[in-house]
Symmetry: D2
Subunit: 349 residues, 4 copies
């Protein structure tokens, strides 16, 4: 059988989505849904399924029909579960964040590399048509220089038992930022202000300032306490500006032909300088049509293709590591009352 | 004649609005429009007016028909012009910011107090029906404890010649915050990250974090480089949450019956605690109808009423001083790379 | 086994939704998916299912494990398929429209009644939380008298091979109208203007005017050619007005405390009359939170409950018949160039 | 003095706007504001004006400094006032509708022509940047064939004492339609359904269907009873579709690269035909930036330019007459219960 045998670990919040999309992916063959709570797993699969359920991870690891596992368990368990899978010779797809620490993530990367196995991180947003189009627009130079980034990801969310809002939501913003920026533009310093105004015992909202190597500032606001759901990202460029609004599907991605041009300063007197600096162009807005495609289906297809082709997936473990470094720096900054924490990210291959 | 004789100083960006509203205010009698550029002043008044134009401030100060002046000139000139007016025995309305420094502002306050004259700062937003309703909702306890504030004030704005984006836009947010918070909740520390990605020579965007005395975090984003105009302020409370959206007049102010309640912790075990903490109530939204009223008309009426009644105006010079202290702290923080700067604001009378 | 054995007929556009929701309904037991194209049916069920596929309707009708069928085939086949099922002693759920003609619909109603079987029409919108809330608000008198209805249901839709836009989309509006109006307010005349500007061979857009027994006018616009998708219904009342906007989930249902009151005319002179007539109240808007619930799940639950309880379902065949009478009148009006066609609907039981 | 002396008649709802824009138009010289209620006129002008007020129309007509009058009185008075002005040798700008009847309008046209005077109708919307851009897009062929028009103009409006909603609001839609359509596409039949659900004594809402010479259908909904204000017009074309949304300034005009193409029918079999017919192109949306310009300022400038240049204004009395013919037909249709009324409009010059 040429399809790839898959087991999904975790039937909680995200696992059902992995199950549903795996079932619909021709190149995958779902063998198991594994959860400590077998009843929960059975409920996810329903009464009409041929997929097997187990509470024993060994059943999965020992099954030669299983080529790969997809891990959708609490973040603190990612490292142990992924390591065991790699050691059993299985390819691994891990939910974000890759692990709880950079150190653990590095161990997984080393293990996967040594074993020649695919280790992929599910940064789902990188597989949305909108973010992929943004990546093209930014990296092709269409946008000009990135002048600022402003991301807002707020809603009335569950206070998570195991992670704070930073580790829950910021991986999305960090992975999108990492994904769309040109290779030579990288975060160099992170500042975080976190707040727990409800006494939840962990940060429920955070404001993150990420300085890029160009001097530009990227800001993220993540918040579990907002009664309105906002999912916007603005990327201001010297030629154009992108506005992503995930809550407005008909105009999800808008490209504004507006921006502020840098003008050669040497050639101008001080008065001229201010006036000449600003160029507004036409101000037209262009809303490109985007394909209707579920991102997680594309994640599954990419995972299968990376395994089948013996190649690195689009969001590989290195991507997950870069995101972890930013998360660790943000947490450290918050502990130090908002002090800027330098980060050093390897240049993207 | 029992009406109050007024001169407007400055026929630039904001002056024409002062002129227009002064003309329509029965208790005021516009005597002069004063601008160094008389033609500009004449253009503002039009061809059919009986109001006089002058380029000489002395004409204004020496005219006994002038009881009060309204100053709408560049910020750097506020101190000298207001001082001269006070010394000439005129009441003064000053555009925001009150002056360029706290020290100058304090001198004006002392002068006005000694002379028994009204010194009012035009924090226009405090006179909008929406902000006045917010003040009622917050200060009456309807909202519960303020858990967070998030204000966004971005658009494609002119790079100002004399002030950066912080001193241009943040006075609005600071004055609204000052106006709506209960008397015993005050800012205690300010952090600012500023950026000038276009080489304008001054900050064109800034992210401000203002810690309140309750531990809650208020954040402001001000930006001259955004192709979309956003004017929102969210005030999250333990009982309700307010969403102000100035770009959406039919639903400018929405009160969400959602929020996160603080629950007595002592009575709960650790597991219960997390689950019990969160209470979402009905989730209904209430959009109160607001009167259609121009804020600046209310500013003029308040200025006239304070003069007529010999009383302190709603946004007096002390208000302006509190805003100045926050601005100075923000500028200092930006200079120090985002370090938190403590502020001590006098308790409101 | 106490659950109800179900077969779904048709694996085309809507059938997969019936399959998905039937699989998730505990009281139902999906036995068959029947389609002339077995491969299409297999694709709908996927590779991991225990549900059987057949191209033979006899397999379904002869299977004693099948208690009920759900018909999601082209409208022209509804009558024959539903009749055969009723004659085989099966309960029937039919997609809208019930049949192609009132006469056929009446035959089905008679058959079902004689056999003591449930015959239900899937008017899905009547099972949405928003429409159910509207029904409460209108029928409780909260809204006051219904003064007008305006429904817009337009998008870029497929030109259907078998029905025009009127029979494709207007059943939704007619069934909602039928569902929410008080029992004593009924349509009495229908006018339709239809247009086929693209030469499709059938109407692609239509404007429908439905006069109610109170003299109020309900209007519907259905259109397959609109590049923007609009799904709004405004129900103007003498006390309040409802605005349903299905494309705006956060404010899907808004109740405006505005309207125009009828004032006793006898007591007023002609001048007074006009001024007094209009009362605007506060103008507040109330957006009630609605449960997140898929309407089709509620349809399935209602079908199962009606069978289990031996009772009439909420949207029974009589509902479907009333909708058919309106559709026939509309088609007739369009043929006659927009002439008004009287309709006589039985008073609701 | 080379400027044009103007008198404004009527200081009610619209008159103040004419006054304000006339004061700001360099080519005009406002001499009088004339209203039966002099106090109302004085209030409009304010305390600082040099413009004269009168209650006597003779003062205006006998004043040789008055070259032109702008009539903003109730519709029923338009004919008498405009005739008197023309007979006194004054150019005339009349608010919409031109007069109360086509017959009166024709008399004015003849008078103006005989006297060589400008007679212009203030169809303000034709002077908005958005409508002017629509005109270019439609008449240049950019849009392709006009397949349908759908206009919605509803809000909570005053029940007017002198006109019904049709004569109050539909002139806007009719004049826009007249303005943007190609010269060879003209209305040929009008149907109206009117309703007065509040007992106001006149229609408060109306649905208008206007059949064009191409067979396409234009529909207008005008309504005084809607708690939400909607101002949209969709013009569906075979190549593109325009969406005008006046309540959404940042995206007031959107051009959708979507539509349905007509395909040569002879070359296709019946099955092919349906599938091939529909072409959706990219689906991109383009939002052209529009100048910020007040339409009424452009009306004033056009009036002055037509007088100065001795030429026909953009919206001349013939335009006003075409709109009157549509209004009369609509009223007649409503009287006859929605019967279609043919109209014959002269081909535009």
């Amino acid at each position: 059988m040429s399809s790839i045998g898959l087991a999904v670990l975790g039937a909680g919040y995200w696992g059902p989505n992995l199950v549903r999309t795996a079932l619909a992916t021709p190149a995958l063959r779902l063998e198991w849904l594994c959860d400590l709570d077998e009843d929960r797993a059975r409920t996810v699969l329903g009464r009409y399924t041929t997929v097997r359920v187990t509470a024993s991870y060994d059943d999965v690891l020992n099954d030669p029909a299983v080529d790969a596992v997809a891990v959708a368990t609490p973040a603190a368990t990612h490292f142990d579960l992924a390591r065991a899978a790699l050691e059993a010779g299985k390819h691994v797809l891990v939910e974000k964040p890759l692990t709880s620490t950079v150190a653990d993530g590095e161990k997984l990367v080393a293990l996967a590399r040594a074993a020649g196995l695919v280790l992929m991180c599910d940064h789902t947003y990188c597989y949305t048509p909108a973010v992929q189009r943004i990546r093209e627009l930014v990296r092709s130079g269409e946008l000009g220089d990135v002048q600022f980034v402003d991301s807002i990801r707020v809603n009335l969310g569950l206070v998570q038992p195991d992670v704070d809002v930073l580790w829950d939501l910021a991986p999305h913003d960090f992975s999108i930022l990492d994904f769309v920026l040109p290779d030579d533009v990288v975060p160099v310093e992170v500042t975080a202000h976190c707040s727990d105004p409800v006494g939840a015992g962990r940060a429920c909202l955070a404001h993150l300032s990420v300085w890029l190597s160009t001097g530009a500032l990227a800001h993220m606001h993540v918040n579990w306490l907002s009664p309105i759901k906002v999912r916007t990202m603005v990327i201001g460029g010297s030629r154009r500006t992108i506005v992503l609004d995930d809550m407005n599907p008909p105009s999800r991605l808008a490209v504004h032909d507006r921006g502020v041009d840098r003008v050669p300063v040497g050639s101008l007197g001080p008065d001229e300088r201010r006036q000449t600096l600003i160029s507004y162009r036409t101000g037209d807005i262009w809303v490109p049509a985007l394909p209707e495609r579920e991102a997680l289906m594309a994640v599954m297809a990419e995972f299968a293709a990376a395994i089948g082709g013996g190649r690195t997936p689009l969001t590989d473990a290195e991507t997950g590591l870069r995101v972890l470094r930013l998360l660790e720096a943000a947490s450290r900054s918050a502990e130090l009352g908002g002090q800027g924490i330098p980060v050093t990210l390897a240049v993207k291959a």
